[in-house]
């Protein structure tokens, strides 16, 4: 490889390089480790987001599942309503609840993992 003619390159460095180097451990995890106010805020926000998500699932389950006995109690016609030869309560409790519960679990896991990924990125990157 041929080098063009001209003055040699001079590397310009600061004498304070080492002093200015950033710490290796991300500050986010250090705040948590040292239990500073900021670290507590990080943890609090993580726990609150996960709790809100959990309560949303429980709330949905309470309304949907808890509503079923109430529906049967308040609207007696639903107890014997015929769905393709099978009474409605048997369709709901025997079959329909299971896929709904499974889908709810899938949605929950996706969201819980998203919250954790955001938290990991946030405290790891500071």
């Amino acid at each position: 490889m041929s080098t063009p003619e001209g003055p040699r390159r001079v590397r310009v460095t600061s004498p304070r390089t080492s002093a200015a180097r950033r710490p290796i451990t991300p500050t986010g995890t250090r705040e948590i480790d040292e239990q500073t106010r900021l670290g507590e805020v990080y943890m609090h926000s993580l726990i609150q987001s996960q709790l809100r998500l959990a309560l949303a699932v429980i709330g949905g389950a309470t309304v949907l599942l808890g509503g079923i006995p109430l529906l049967f109690a308040l609207v007696p016609a639903t107890r014997t309503l015929d769905v393709l030869g099978v009474p409605l309560p048997w369709v709901i409790l025997g079959v329909a609840v299971y896929p709904v519960v499974y889908v709810a679990a899938r949605v929950y896991v996706r969201n819980a993992e998203r919250i954790e990924a955001e938290f990991t990125e946030f405290v790891g990157r500071q």
Binding site: M43, V97, A105, V109
Partner: protein, 520 residues
């Protein structure tokens, strides 16, 4: 039903169980192998094993029996057993795995920094486990009686002996494989006869209008809230049952031990999702047996309803086909008793070993003992109490007794876990008070039921389904006592919260340099 075919099938299940147990023995070496399979079981194996362990006599025989007698309201049993895992998933699965503890008393001790709370938890694990083992032994006795006419003691003794041998020989690692195998066996045993019946009816003329059992006059049992079978206050009972099952699952000792075998919190969640799919598939079948039973085995409504799953194949197909299907179902039932009892025995033995036995053995033998032997003795002890209780109690509805174990768990471990994981101002005194109040109330109700309680009206409803009042009582006790004793909030709560909730990818100080393996 031909005893020879069924006995052969049951024999095969036992041989397979012990065989897989022995395969496990070769790789079980250290104490941590015994407890949690060294936490290297993959989610798919683990989900099959969790489901295999969870589907007990109550699910395999009891649900169909209860629906047969009491009708649509009992469908809530299988719904509740499944939704319990959804609640477990959203409230405790990942944090519990991240807690780094491997039994419930371990969790309580590290979270609340108290040996006293630990001892209460140890007692509750033994109590709930015994209450749950009891119907397994009854189911085993019932199955062998139905198949061969042998007295119930024989079947119970067979299951008790095999479980103790298997657990003592291989511990947790081997039962992971045993239980994964047993889930698929149970599903096959329950599903195959249903499919055979459907196919047979397609080829010939539909022999009876089976669905008529569900419709019109004379189908009062098929309606929800019908008080068929003589249960008063069905709306209260339904809600109370649902509460017990939804929030009791997370507090069952054998379910918790299983979760520690996940490699991390994320895997614990994903495993639970697979479990929900496996359970949902299984629970499609018991109601089918109940509906068929209304047509083909109406005499069982009066007595012996829990045998409907065993009786039905032989009644629909007299002859060889019925014999073979009946044998398959009997084998599946035995798989159910063996797997659930193994899981419970591991959980109870772990607690007896750590909290009662090991320190004493150490003293008596002046340190000259092997830790694994202590676990083996504990396994034997943990089967003795339920077996004695089995000999003393009469016939109980399988699913009802299991329901009581759920109610005790929902009133004790559920508040401990849920508030312990999500509420940083929970105090140690609050934890102890909640366990004691909830435990005493729910155990008293359970005991009254086992001994023989009130027969009708509100007393029967409140004692028969106690969770609706015992569980809120326990939660309120924890919250009120914790508010009154703010100075008893554990000093390490902040660190515990970090440990429970931070994803493994984040490199933080979790307070425990390594999981608290006590031995080795």
């Amino acid at each position: 039903m031909s005893p020879a075919t069924s006995l052969t099938a049951i024999g095969l299940v036992i041989v397979a169980t012990i065989g897989i147990g022995l395969f496990g023995l070769r790789i079980s070496r250290t104490t941590s192998d015994f407890y949690v399979a060294s936490r290297v079981v993959t989610p798919r194996w683990n989900a099959s094993a969790i489901s295999g362990e969870y589907l007990s006599a109550a699910s395999f025989l009891g649900v169909a029996g209860l629906v047969l007698v009491n009708g649509a309201d009992m469908l809530w049993f299988s719904v509740g057993y499944t939704v319990g895992y959804l609640m477990l998933l959203v409230l405790v699965a990942a944090p519990l795995r991240r807690s780094g503890a491997y039994t419930l008393p371990d969790f309580a001790e590290t979270r609340f920094e108290s040996a006293f709370v630990r001892r209460i938890c140890a007692g509750l694990v033994v109590g709930i486990g015994t209450l749950y083992l009891l119907p397994q032994l009854h189911g085993a006795g019932l199955t062998l009686q139905t198949v061969t006419g042998a007295p119930p003691d024989v079947g119970a003794a067979v299951v008790a002996v095999i479980v103790v041998i298997n657990v003592a020989a291989g511990g947790m690692r081997s039962i992971t494989f045993v239980q994964a195998f047993q889930y698929w066996l149970k599903l096959t045993a329950l599903a195959l006869p249903v499919f055979v019946i459907l196919i047979a009816w397609r080829s010939v003329e539909h022999p009876v209008g089976v669905l008529e059992a569900l419709q019109g006059a004379g189908a009062e049992w098929a309606e929800p809230l019908s008080t068929a079978g003589g249960r008063d206050h069905p709306l209260y009972a339904t809600y109370s049952l649902l509460l017990a099952l939804c929030f009791g699952t997370m507090g069952l000792p054998h379910v918790l031990v299983r979760f520690y075998t996940n490699p991390d919190g994320r895997a614990a969640r994903r495993t639970t999702v697979v479990v929900l799919a496996l359970l949902g598939t299984f629970y499609l079948f018991p109601p089918v047996y109940a509906v068929l039973g209304r047509t083909f085995a109406p005499d069982l409504v009066g007595s012996g309803a829990d045998t409907v799953v065993l009786e039905l194949p032989g009644r629909i197909f007299p002859g060889t086909a019925g014999d073979l299907l009946g044998a398959l179902v009997a084998a599946g039932a035995f798989a159910a008793f063996l797997s659930t009892s193994s899981g419970l025995t591991v959980a109870i033995a772990g607690v007896i070993d750590q909290d009662l036995l090991r320190s004493r053995l150490h003293r008596w033998t002046s340190g000259d003992y092997v830790a694994v032997n202590s676990f083996r003795i504990a396994a034997l002890l943990s089967m003795c109490v339920p077996y004695l209780a089995f000999l003393l109690t009469g016939s109980l509805s399988l699913a009802d007794t299991v329901g009581l174990a759920f109610a005790v768990a929902a009133s004790t471990f559920c508040p401990l876990l849920v508030l312990g994981i999500w509420w940083r101002r929970m105090s140690t005194t609050g934890a102890a008070a909640g366990l004691i109040v909830g435990g005493v109330a729910a155990s008293a109700a359970a005991l009254v039921n086992v001994v023989g309680g009130p027969d009708d009206g509100w007393p029967q409803a409140l004692v028969g389904q106690p969770a609706a009042w015992t569980m809120p009582l326990a939660f309120i006790t924890v919250i009120v006592v914790s508010k009154l004793t703010p100075d008893k909030i554990p000093a390490g709560t902040a660190r515990s919260m970090v440990r429970l909730h931070t994803p493994e990818a984040v490199d933080v100080d979790r307070g425990l340099p390594q999981p608290p393996y006590r031995s080795s």
